[in-house]
């Protein structure tokens, strides 16, 4: 039983960051190449990332503090790609000016 709980937590953690990375890569590629389809596809990875995070949050093995920390991370990942995209574009735009 314990092994199963640990295994699920580990798997959700693995998938959470993996999907967050996929979301970031696809989002940036979509925005750069002006392909809304790619950007929309990236949102599906954002959703998968969120669901993986929820998998950890809902684990009965973690107490409230850890659930809150992971929930915070899960939400943070949702905003990182668009926010970072704006930062990077703004940085380059300022230099060009």
């Amino acid at each position: 039983m314990l092994a199963e709980t640990i295994y699920k937590l580990m798997l959700y953690g693995f998938l959470m960051v993996l999907f967050a990375g996929a979301y970031a890569i696809l989002y940036a590629m979509g925005r750069f190449s002006g392909l809304p389809l790619l950007t929309r596809a990236s949102y599906s990875f954002a959703l998968l990332q969120f669901l993986s995070g929820l998998g950890m949050v809902l684990s009965p093995y973690l107490d409230l503090l850890w659930r809150v920390i992971i929930l915070f991370s899960t939400f943070a990942y949702l905003f990182i790609p668009p926010v970072m995209w704006r930062v990077v574009v703004e940085m380059h735009k300022r230099h060009e000016e």
Binding site: L2, G13, I25, M29, L62, I69, I80, H92
Partner: protein, 469 residues
């Protein structure tokens, strides 16, 4: 072909020594991988612990040499003058290489010693990953101090202090300062481990990360013409993020060494945030790739630079986060899962960076301006090394998974549980796969070596043949 500064010639010495030590690292790694399958292999002649120690120490030293090479390569370009203490730098190089040779010989011939001061000073300190005897430890600090002196002295002589140089100077202070923490010696194992982690985590995961940030910044400026302002702004962000999450993320190693309970919360909190900057960095890498459309006169350097950005995300982010929470780490710490994470993280963050630097230097020394450093061998080596590394990581992940679930979570960490896990088919099979991908990695290294030795020359020969024909 550009005229080289003396400092850049010194950088080339470091590069070649590093690449040879990279081969040594792989060789000892392969021997250790064979011993995982057949523990009797070379038993009594070259024991597993010696192979493992040499595998890890060779990695630390060659990566460090690559970083020093990067500093000596770009420093004169940054300051517009020759490095002030170049003779001292060359002396340090010979001292460094000589010390490494002596230490390796001692490891091979002596392998272990009794737990006394003679052993600690002249054979091995016996502390995992930082086994170098005390005299060699002092030598490493001295070399780091000389590099720091050369950086500061050259900047002062040139009357030039850029943002990149500022970050480098601060980082070098931490680089030799934190290494001193590994030289404390105390019979209290908790206190000993407390300082030991300062070297193994803070030194490697914080100061090296920033140093690589500096070197990759210089590389992108010279390789792609990325403006200095963008590089410096990004470098400050990276330093903030790495230090912000990385320093206290150290706590994830403190869970189980007998430190106060608050480390559990601190370590867990910051560790869970550690992948966030890695995901953010990927955005910039994709942007840069798009802006430059992968066009450069030095494609291998560019591709290895991209491998660095993505490798860091997978190795440190995905494989790190998977087992960093204390609730999981309690069962996975020290298993093959940690080895899987370590292999991919080091390859992604540091090996890729060093290879990008090597190819960049080659592009400036071998290939005439305008020629494209773009043969076939580097592509084979690139793909082979990446597949080999991911294959080893996958195999180690399966082994670590079996260890975590069977040995720790189900059977309860007893000696018998350890033996049962070791003999479990998932582990035995995984070790065979690890060896297979290890061999693939080694063969790819041979192709890489061939490419490094002949790149540019082949292009020259081809062009000359075309002209003649």
């Amino acid at each position: 072909m550009e005229r080289l500064y003396e400092s850049q010639k010194l950088a080339l010495w470091y590069f070649w020594t590093a690449i040879i030590l990279f081969g040594a690292q792989l060789l000892f790694g392969l021997l250790a991988a064979i011993q995982f399958i057949n523990p009797d292999f070379l038993y009594g002649t070259l024991n597993f612990m010696t192979n493992r120690m040499l595998h890890i120490n060779a990695m630390v030293v060659w990566l460090l040499m690559g970083f020093i090479a990067g500093i000596y390569w770009f420093l004169p370009l940054e300051t517009g003058r020759e490095v002030v203490g170049i003779k001292l730098g060359k002396l340090a190089y010979f001292a460094f290489v000589g010390a490494v040779a002596v230490v390796v010989l001692v490891y091979l011939l002596k392998q272990y010693g009794s737990g006394d001061f003679f052993t600690m000073w002249f054979i091995t300190e016996g502390r995992e990953y930082i086994e170098a005897p005390r005299w060699a430890d002092i030598g490493i600090v001295a070399v780091a101090l000389i590099v720091a002196f050369n950086v500061v002295g050259t900047a002062v002589a040139a009357r030039r202090l850029t943002g990149i140089l500022g970050v480098l100077m601060v980082d070098l202070a931490f680089l030799f300062g934190l290494y001193l923490a590994g030289m404390f010696f105390t019979p209290n194992i908790s206190v000993d481990q407390f300082w030991w982690w300062w070297v193994v985590h803070l030194w490697v995961e914080a100061t090296w990360e920033v140093l690589v940030g500096v070197l990759m910044g210089w590389l992108l400026m010279h390789l792609l013409g990325t403006p200095r302002k963008i590089i410096e702004a990004w470098l400050y962000v990276e330093v903030m993020l790495v230090f912000g999450t990385g320093i206290l993320g150290l706590g994830h190693h403190y869970y189980w060494i007998g430190t106060p309970e608050y480390w559990l919360g601190i370590g867990g909190f910051f560790s869970s945030l550690e992948p966030l900057p890695l995901v953010a960095m990927v955005i910039h890498a994709v942007y840069d790739a798009g802006v430059h459309k992968l066009k450069t006169v030095n494609r291998p350097a560019l591709f290895w630079a991209f491998a660095q950005a993505f490798g860091n995300l997978f190795g440190a982010g995905v494989w790190g986060f998977m087992h960093t929470l204390p609730q999981i780490n309690l069962f996975s710490h020290g298993t093959q899962l940690a080895a899987a994470h370590g292999h991919l993280a080091f390859f992604g963050a540091y090996v890729s960076a060093n290879l990008a630097l090597f190819y960049f230097a080659l592009g400036k020394t071998r290939v005439k301006e305008g020629y494209i450093l773009n043969g076939t061998p580097w592509k084979i080596a690139y793909v082979g090394l990446i597949i080999g590394m991911f294959g080893m990581t996958a195999a180690l992940t399966v082994a670590g998974f079996a260890q975590t679930m069977i040995e720790r979570a189900t059977l309860g960490s007893t000696w018998e549980a350890f033996m049962q896990a070791q003999m479990h088919p998932w582990m035995e099979e995984a070790f065979r796969w690890r060896l297979f991908f290890g061999v693939m990695f080694f063969l790819s290294y041979i192709i890489l070596l061939y490419d490094l030795l002949t790149a540019g020359r082949r292009v020259e020969a081809l062009r000359e043949a075309e002209v003649a024909g």
